[in-house]
Amino acid sequence: MDETFKPSRRAFLRGSAAAAAGSVAGAAAANGADPLITELQDWASYTGAGVDETPYGMPISFESHVVRRNVEWLTASPISSINFTPIHALDGTITPQGCAFERHHSGAIELRKEDYRLMINGLVDRPLVFTYEDLERFPRENHVYFCECAANTGMEWAGAQLNGVQFTHGMIHNMEYTGVPLRTLLREAGADIALDKWVYVEGADASSNGRSIPMEKALDDVLVAFKANGEALRMEHGYPVRLVVPGWEGNMWVKWLRRVEVTDMAVESREETSKYTDVYADGTARKWTWVMDAKSVITTPSPQMPITHGPGPLVISGLAWSGHGQITRVDVSKDGGITWETARLGKQGDTKALTRFYLDTEWDGAPMLLQARAMDETGYVQPTKEQLRDQRGENAVYHNNCIQTWYVNAEGIAENVEVS
């Protein structure tokens, strides 16, 4: 550890306050009986809310900090912009839809099921139009998948930028989808499914967000989804129908899906030429970088989740995921990558889905440099930012799956840093 490294004054003051707050609960027991136990509390005497009070509930007010947040300076307009899932405050793997991130290019549109139409055309025997009701008559499937924006962690290419895991890694959500395999609809239309063919998919919104998908993927695991986490899609997530493209960059998960066209070449639309292409240090660019590689991040402790309980037992927790399949292992380092311990998976994650990991450890109160490193079923090991930069330079914008480092000081305050 660099001896010259010092926490900021503000962080230090905040850390002292947090430590003091943490000691109050302990003091109550030391100084005598806890009045929360010995004195009759209102909630143990009076009645609570009736079952008719909240037909569709929101989280309790004490959790009002667990919300989507945006970063104004990132984009020119909030209509074509991004916000961030509060992954620092969540646990498990399923993202509550109400705080799952949004990314729109011309805003979240309101499209009634009655007004919804899906067209399949192009190289098909029978160009078809489906209503929403039609889609619910096809055999359906359930799958849990992560949707990660290609730009997640993109601000961090050139250095440690935003101080919070919500902002560095929160362009992601993970839901259980119900829908119809795209291959079912392609068959219904008598599509030419030769593997040199493509499907071009576009939304009903003004941006359209058209993208080209190779036929092999379209026939594999792409879903035309109309439910997420058990209920209809939220407006901002594509109500009433979106595309689910497992393991692939979020941009291709076309919302408000209105048309699927079978073509004999990629359309090379704006969203796969100007955007979602990755510029190398030499000025050339990669296109069609569809898969999201294995990645992980520690969500607690993190800059928004300092350690407030002092030394002793500590749960280090985080998320890991891979577009190539299942996460098989996550290693955690407390010393910036000199030594690693293998963490415990909350449960074996689904393929191409978020996986929760825990390292149950003892904190001695000394500063830590926390890192997590994911491995997937192909044997791929999440790289360091140095490894990525050596390959790609600093201007790739997209697909930053580097190992993240949090510096945790002696007060338990965490900061986003880069290490040598």
């Binding site: 011309s106 139009v129 070449m265 510029v279 790289p383």
Partner: protein, 196 residues
């Protein structure tokens, strides 16, 4: 129903397909008849585009720059414009016609779109001021960065090397903090910089 299908859905009519299938392929397939020249494009651009993209497609405030930036792609701060970066002219026509102006998408005629695209090419010094873009000469136009893209080669360049058993102990001699986010940019107040 055709054998092997569920018989769900109904045939799409030609006029329905025509209304929604407006994409243009890199080889120009999908373009409607028509054309537009630079002078007309300058007028249309001034009226419908310049308030965000600037009179010369140079961009206003944080709105996208459409012209210039040639040979900056390897710089520290690349300027990726239609001229310096986009590989196909079809994309410009398709995207403008379908999704611009921002907030009034789908209102440009085919001729207006040809004219705007001609003007953007002119703003990038890629054509003379008497240039007219038409469906007929569209496919002849080669973009500056048409050869600037390679298909995803991560499997060869990265995966092969990174699928190896990782180091677990004594992986480095020492670790130095080289960069701290709190000194660089503004995280919203709900982030770690200002709140617990």
């Amino acid at each position: 129903a055709v054998e092997g299908t569920y018989g769900i859905g109904r045939p799409a009519l030609d006029e329905e397909v025509a209304a929604w299938d407006v994409d243009v392929l890199p080889d120009g397939r999908g373009l409607p008849a028509g054309g537009g020249d630079v002078f007309t494009g300058e007028e249309v651009f001034a009226e419908k585009c310049a308030s965000c993209h600037g009179d010369f497609a140079e961009g206003v405030d944080n709105w996208p720059v459409l012209a210039g930036g040639f040979d900056t792609l390897a710089d520290e701060d690349p300027v990726k414009t239609v001229g310096s970066y986009w590989p196909y002219l079809s994309t410009a026509w398709d995207y403008i016609h379908r999704s611009m102006p921002f907030g009034e998408a789908g209102t440009l005629t085919a001729d207006e779109t040809y004219a705007i695209v001609a003007y953007i090419l002119y703003s990038n010094d890629l054509v003379d001021d008497n240039f007219e873009l038409t469906r007929e000469n569209f496919a002849d136009f080669n973009m500056y960065n048409m050869d600037g893209f390679t298909v995803d080669d991560r499997p060869e360049q990265e995966y092969a090397a990174w699928r190896a058993e990782p180091c677990m102990e004594n992986c480095k001699d020492e670790v130095q903090v080289t960069m701290r986010s709190v000194f660089l940019v503004d995280t919203p107040p709900e982030g770690g910089s200002d709140s617990v």
